[in-house]
C-alpha cells in the first residue's frame, strides 16, 4: 500500500523541495537583495507541487505543526548552501507556535546543528484557522525575539492576518498582500489602504525600537522611506547562492534589463567556452540565467511587462513565481508550453509615494 501523502511529506526528505524568492531593497541608486524567502514546493510532478494546494491539504489534515517542522528542516538544509550573511524568511503557522511550547527549542537546535545564527532569520506568521492559542503564541514569539529572530505577519489584510493578529504578534514586518498592491499607482483606494498599514507600522514601532516595516508580497516599505520588493523569481538554491555572491540586483528598469541581457550573453558565452552550466558560471545575473529568455526584447518583457515562461524553464528550476492571489487562475488558464504572467505590477512600485511625518 502506498503511504499517504502526509506520510510521504513527513518521512521522505525528497518530497519537499525548496525555492528561494529574493526580497529586494529598492533605492533610486539601485536595488539590492535584502534577503531570501524560503518557499516550499510539494512532491515534484504532482498537483501538490503548488504550495497553496499542498498547504490546503496539510490544513485539512490538521498537520500544520509536523509539516511546518519538516519545511523548516528542509529550508535550513538549503540555507546552509547560501552565503553566510543572507537573511532568510521562513513561514510558520500561528497554530504551530501557539500549540507547541517546545517549538523554540526545536528551532534553536535545528539552527545550532547547522551552525546558522538565529539572527539571520525572520519568521513569517501565517494562519488560516480563526482560532489559535494566543498565550502560547505570545510566549513562543517572546522567546524567539529574545534569540534575535524577527517576526513578520504574512498577508496582512487578508483572512486571519487582521488587526487582532497584528496585536497578538506585534510584528516587526507587515507583509501586505499583493491584492492591495497590484495597480496601486492607478488606484487611490489601494494607496489609502497601504498608507494606513504604513501608519500602523510606524505607530507600533514607536516604542519598539527599530526594524519595524511595512512589507509586501511585492513591496516592502519601511517607515524611514526605504522600500523593498518581493515576488520576484523563485530560485533554486544554487542560483540563489550564486546571485547572492554576485551581489545581484533586480533589474526594474530598461537600463537594468539591458545590463541583465548583456550579462546573460556574457555568461552564456563563458559557459559555452568553459563547458559549464550558466548558473555555475561566474557573474550570473538571475534574469540572465533564465534559459527561456534569449533576446533583449524578452528580457525587457520580463522587466517591464510580460514574461514568457516555458516548460523548459520550469523543468530546469528557474520557474518564475509571482506570488499573488490572482496568479493561480492565470496559471491554470495557461495552455500548451507557454504560461504568461503579467509582471508589470511588480514595477508599479516606484510610482508609490508616501508622505513623511
Amino acid at each position: 500500500m502506498k503511504p499517504s501523502l502526509l506520510q510521504t511529506l513527513l518521512e521522505d526528505q525528497k518530497a519537499l523541495s525548496v525555492r528561494f524568492q529574493p526580497i529586494f531593497r529598492l533605492s533610486p541608486y539601485g536595488n539590492q537583495v535584502d534577503g531570501m524567502e524560503g518557499l516550499i514546493r510539494g512532491p515534484a510532478g504532482t498537483s501538490f507541487e503548488r504550495a497553496d494546494v499542498l498547504f490546503d491539504y496539510v490544513r485539512r489534515k490538521h498537520a500544520e505543526t509536523a509539516v511546518d517542522r519538516s519545511c523548516i528542516v528542509a529550508i535550513c538544509r538549503a540555507v546552509a548552501d547560501l552565503p553566510p550573511n543572507t537573511r532568510i524568511n521562513l513561514n510558520v503557522h500561528a497554530s504551530t507556535l501557539g500549540e507547541n511550547p517546545d517549538f523554540v527549542d526545536f528551532f534553536r537546535r535545528q539552527m545550532h546543528s547547522l551552525s546558522l545564527p538565529l539572527e539571520r532569520f525572520t519568521l513569517e506568521i501565517v494562519e488560516h484557522a480563526p482560532n489559535y492559542n494566543v498565550p502560547g503564541l505570545a510566549c513562543n514569539l517572546r522567546a524567539l525575539r529574545d534569540l534575535g529572530v524577527r517576526i513578520a505577519l504574512d498577508d496582512v489584510g487578508l483572512g486571519t492576518s487582521n488587526y487582532r493578529m497584528i496585536l497578538d504578534c506585534h510584528p516587526d514586518y507587515f507583509k501586505v498582500d499583493a491584492y492591495f498592491v497590484e495597480g496601486i499607482s492607478r488606484d487611490a483606494d489601494r494607496r489609502a489602504v497601504v498608507r494606513s498599514v504604513l501608519c500602523l507600522a510606524k505607530e507600533m514601532n514607536a516604542g519598539g525600537g527599530g526594524g519595524s516595516s511595512l512589507a509586501g508580497r511585492h513591496i516592502h516599505v519601511e517607515p524611514n522611506g526605504h522600500r523593498a520588493l518581493s515576488g520576484a523569481p523563485s530560485l533554486s538554491t544554487a542560483v540563489a547562492a550564486g546571485a547572492m555572491r554576485q551581489g545581484f540586483s533586480g533589474s526594474a528598469s530598461r537600463r537594468g534589463a539591458t545590463r541583465a541581457w548583456r550579462q546573460c550573453r556574457a555568461v552564456r558565452a563563458y559557459a559555452t567556452k568553459t563547458g559549464r552550466n550558466p548558473p555555475e558560471a561566474a557573474g550570473v545575473s538571475v534574469t540572465g540565467a533564465i534559459p527561456g529568455l534569449r533576446s533583449l526584447r524578452e528580457v525587457r518583457q520580463l522587466s517591464l511587462g510580460t514574461a514568457l515562461i516555458t516548460r523548459r524553464t520550469y523543468a530546469e528550476g528557474f520557474k518564475l513565481v509571482i506570488k499573488r492571489t490572482s496568479c493561480h487562475s492565470q496559471a491554470s488558464r495557461s495552455a500548451g508550453n507557454v504560461s504568461t504572467f503579467h509582471l508589470k505590477s511588480l514595477f508599479d512600485v516606484p510610482a508609490l509615494r508616501f508622505s513623511k511625518g
Binding site: 502506498k2 501523502l5 494546494v53 485539512r60 491554470s332
Partner: protein, 124 residues
C-alpha cells in the same frame, strides 16, 4: 478532446492503472487517496470528471463525502462512482447527490474511458 480528470481511490495500483489508461487517451489525470487530498485538489483545480470509489479507507465511506463536497461547491463536475460495494442503499444515496454513472470494480478500462469522454463532452 483532453479533459482534466480526478481519480479518488485508496487502491494505488488500481488508480495508477486507470490513470495511465486515461492519460494515454490524452486526458490530464490527478489521483487522490483520501478525502482531504481530493478536497484540496477540487478546491484549486477544475475537473471535468471525478471518478471515485465509495470506500476510501477501511473505516468509512469517504467517497460519499467527496460527492457531497463537490455538490456543496456547486461544481459542474461530472461524477463516476466505481466501487466493489454494490449495496443499493449506498447507490441510492450517491444517486441522490447527482452521480452520473456507476461502475462495479474492476471496471473495464475501455468502457470507463468511453463514459469519461461522454460525460466530459456533455459538460463542455
Amino acid at each position: 478532446m483532453p479533459h482534466r480528470i480526478l481519480i479518488i481511490d485508496d487502491d494505488d495500483q488500481l488508480a495508477t492503472a486507470y490513470k495511465e489508461y486515461l492519460c494515454a487517451q490524452g486526458h490530464q489525470v490527478d489521483c487522490a487517496q483520501e478525502l482531504e487530498e481530493a478536497q484540496a485538489l477540487l478546491t484549486h483545480f477544475s475537473y471535468a470528471v471525478v471518478i471515485t470509489d465509495l470506500r476510501l479507507s477501511k473505516l468509512d465511506f469517504g467517497g460519499l463525502n467527496v460527492i457531497r463536497y463537490i455538490r456543496e461547491l456547486a461544481l459542474k463536475t461530472r461524477i463516476i462512482v466505481f466501487t466493489g460495494y454494490g449495496w443499493p442503499e449506498l447507490q441510492a444515496e450517491a444517486s441522490a447527490h447527482g452521480v452520473d454513472a456507476f461502475f462495479r470494480k474492476p471496471a473495464q478500462l475501455a468502457a470507463l474511458a468511453q463514459t469519461v469522454s461522454e460525460l466530459a463532452g456533455v459538460q463542455a
